[in-house]
Symmetry: D2
Subunit: 337 residues, 4 copies
């Protein structure tokens, strides 16, 4: 940490800062400039130290130097983490694709879609059984019945089932049916849930919250990693900005940035990231161009009859075209899809 | 709803839209302009209708007309809702003030602060026992022990205890000690939690998520109201924007906007809303100028020793000055504090 | 500046950084921690130094320590700058109010409004003659004719005329008629214009760009101050965020923040800052509560007939009420209005 | 336009709205729902109509239906506009690449870079002679001398020269040397400048402002198109959001969205869009995956010695690798580079 003193801060205030640093078990190092003084605080970082120093008189600001996350960092583990669930492989040069409806709606629907997903060459089947909905008046999912239908679709196709879990108390139930547990964007900082999915020992797909910074995103992953579960996929699904021509803004620079900072694989969700079916396939191609380790895409045989989010679902034909195009781009950038 | 067709959409596409509207149990009304056609869909709004229409061929966009929330709306209930807990009264011309530390740290700390809060004229005592922390390495709160200390401080002062509950499974426990249950910004869309706090029958302080729109905020309140619990305080605590000189951006226009749209009282949290102790008292005055029904403020007798968020805590002296200043502004705008 | 090296950066890279710092005429100071090394660069700040250091191998990031602006800073001048134009006084405990229509539309309109403004107790008259409009199909202002009408309204009332200048080549013309030159939000970083208004020697009202940071805002002011013109009013008029219930988000914490950092007075524009007539007066009160040195407000005797921005204009009656309410809040916070 | 009345708006208010619509030369069409009434206003859109209607009593909101821009719209012209300057071709299936330093610094520098740009297969040479700089203390460019050096580099290589013009009064001078005039992000809404570059009859590269919506961006292009100059390239260079790990957030969905709405070609600037050299090449590949019609990239033989923005400049080797990779992705998505 670097403690920047206010210009003209008197010596007694500087002394107090030095004393507090030592008291916190850190080493202090004074750097006196012509206009102001900074004090470096060296040693094992202690949470709370920054806050304590920030509140001292004469302190202008405290600049952290080390990243706040540890286990997610490439400083701890350089080789990329590869997440596997049945035939789905994400990371380490392998591009995994997960597709399916927003919500599981019926046996016919999910079995039909699972077949389409498999034939197009994807390895994961998504589908919501427990649906977090902005409005209490919206369709909330088929719940356990939906999970059973997903399992049936897996048995028929061999696809890995990826489905959302909304609360700690649902984890045991969902884990009986799912191959990958998804934590939704609204729950990225639901810490009891993060710990519970970590302890399930299943792979976890963690979606970025729409206003989360990279540090917050990686600290959320850290809650899972701390349980000893290393099978975590990070998923960029768009952030909230002033743009209103798309539902969210999809910032693909997240992909190469995270590849620098973490060993965890990075997936992209162009469906939520745009909220417009006509933009999804193009942004899937762009995500592959950015080096994404995976894609998660919403499809529906009859988008206009979908019980949720039909406006962002690809038709089966559009999805097959997307898969063909993405395969070409993956080849171009050296990813195996 | 208004369905806007693309320019040049052929008659067959318009007919399909009309047919779907009728099939959804709504009445359609065609409006043909010189450049394009719009179709109004009239009747009780049905969730899913908008989505279904949006995905039809030839449709440019679907514009909702009615607000998506109902029970929170001034259209349902015109007179302001007043929330009460012991001597704390929020809404209906009464300005309620809640103050206290970020976290309960010790018996001495919370008893000392409670006394300061009471003497300065506030009626609510805040203090975190279960702390949601961005980093798994940060202090996570004293948990049940913290609740017991809050209850002891209430017994000593008569202040109403306001404390956060982070998960559905904690509600019963926290409800044994608290007078008001706080749902934090990270959990604004944790729907199982919203339902559980609603069913507790205690008053609820609902914080706005840092990227929540007004509709999303009011729909989150709607989850609580639907349980039959009307005692909901909305709390503006800042949004995430590009500004980095404050921890969040505090948009006070929320206060008069919500006063137009909802009967629920609106509180402001200038501590999280700025993240800088030196700005808190001024923004508290501004919030009162904007007509806020309440303030929730972090204070600490020794901010530099606080275990969390000390950089945004007022000292007791600064808090007393803030109370004096806010009382004058409240008088000026006709609020009783 | 603090140069943070990457963890494990080899000694040769650190040596190169040290050498470059010295070569740039700065002094270097090595601070070696257990996990990484930082190098402080001391001395007169040189633009370009940060960039050069950032691009060196082994450098993780470069943290600036000093504020990038100088003449606007409270470090250079502690006492508040007071800006005066006729009876309009802004800053130093005096709250100046400027009001008027978005655009000057006709002789009758501007003379009628000027009378209303004066009688309500404001000292400045705003009105656009050259109008920057988002669409080329919108009303672009009466241009020089508008300026003449503003001057006539000033002669009739004694109000100070505040009007926008859009381009360097208009400065001489506008300066013949105006008492204060306004630089609009779209032009906050139009550097040739900033220099030209500075050289006019008239007071300048500089509006914050909707995505400008505080440093960028103060650096824009610095372009004016560098010409030797100290009469600069900073004006917060709202920023662009994801919020869509208001036209912009009005972040009032700007006021106390700028009061810490700069000696220049800070005005608030609640009309553009909300874009909704029903919210303007309340936010004007809030701005006064936040300690603003001035208000600039749009009014129109017949908002529905305004040629521009009628939706955010106060009626004369609403404006008079706003003035009465703001005066009470000003008293409460110790401002003279 | 659709005028949405407030719930319970009395008949007299609805009548007034209808009367105003007719008075504005539009046709009105009443749609009465169970909960509220909407009035459609049909006919040629008139600016000011929306504003006038919005301010009427009883009106909740006015929803525009038609896009506010015309000449830029695919409704007016379906076939893509192709912009050409010497060998640089942008649009219509052709991917044009412009590269060069942030600033022209010296004869040696620009001639060396021009050779690198040409050999790597790009057709445009960028380089700033007039530099808009956030700080008045930063390097402001070589001005006319820089223009002369760019022209010399063009004579040596045949590359098209692309350079920024900052003010209306510079247009004639810059047009003597440049093949394409660039309007920078800060000047996207500098209307006198937009008209002047339009009248120059040279192709224009128009950069998106960091907080501009798509409508604002296309309306800025409309100012140029209105002069009769159709040679306009739109350039996405990143928007301002809460993200701080990149200098701006680069929203690539802009590319397919604009391809739906406008016939103008869309270029991407991954240098400003990320502000980090290590992310530039990857985001260039992603932009090509998104179907961009062009790329504009900063390169420098010695980034650490650059007088501006060296931290985002590619080295010659990295640029050559980027060109090879982008060519493969262009093939994959059917673009000719």
């Amino acid at each position: 940490m670097i403690v920047v003193m206010k210009p003209g801060a008197p010596k007694c205030q500087i002394d107090d800062v030095v004393a507090l640093i030592e008291q916190l078990g850190l080493r202090s190092h004074l750097v006196e400039g012509s206009e102001l003084t900074v004090v470096a605080a060296l040693g094992e970082k202690r949470d709370g130290a920054k806050q304590a120093l920030e509140t001292m008189e004469g302190v202008e600001k405290v600049v952290p130097i080390l990243a706040p996350y540890k286990m997610a960092s490439t400083e701890i583990k350089r080789e990329p983490t590869v997440v596997k669930a049945r035939n789905l492989v994400v990371g380490g040069g392998r591009l995994g694709v997960i597709a399916g409806p927003c919500s599981v709606e019926s046996r016919e629907q999910i079995l039909e879609i699972a077949q389409i997903v498999k034939e197009a060459g994807a390895a994961g089947l998504r589908g919501g059984a427990f649906k977090p909905r902005t409005s209490p008046y919206s369709f909330q999912g088929l719940k356990e019945k939906g999970l059973q239908l997903l399992a049936e679709a897996r048995d028929a196709t061999g696809l890995a089932v990826v489905t959302e879990v909304m609360a700690k108390e649902q984890v045991d139930l969902v884990a009986q049916y799912a191959d990958v547990l998804q934590v939704g964007a609204r729950n990225m900082q639901n810490y009891p849930l993060l710990e519970a999915v970590g302890e399930s020992r299943l792979p976890v797909l963690l979606k970025r919250g729409p206003s989360a910074t990279m540090d917050e995103f990686l600290l959320a992953a850290e809650y899972i990693l701390k349980t000893g579960n290393q099978q975590v996929i990070l998923c960029e699904r768009g952030i909230r900005t002033f743009e209103d021509h798309t539902r969210f803004t999809l910032p693909l620079a997240t992909v190469p940035y995270l590849h620098e900072k973490t060993h965890l694989p990075v997936m992209v969700d162009p469906s939520h990231g745009t909220g417009k079916a006509s933009l999804v396939a193009t942004m899937a191609r762009a995500a592959v161009g950015a080096g994404a380790d995976g894609l998660i895409v919403e499809i529906h045989p009859h988008p206009e009859k979908a019980l949720s989010d039909g406006y962002q679902a690809l038709t089966p034909a559009a999805f097959r075209q997307m898969m063909r195009d993405c395969r070409k781009v993956a080849d171009a950038v050296g990813l195996k899809m």
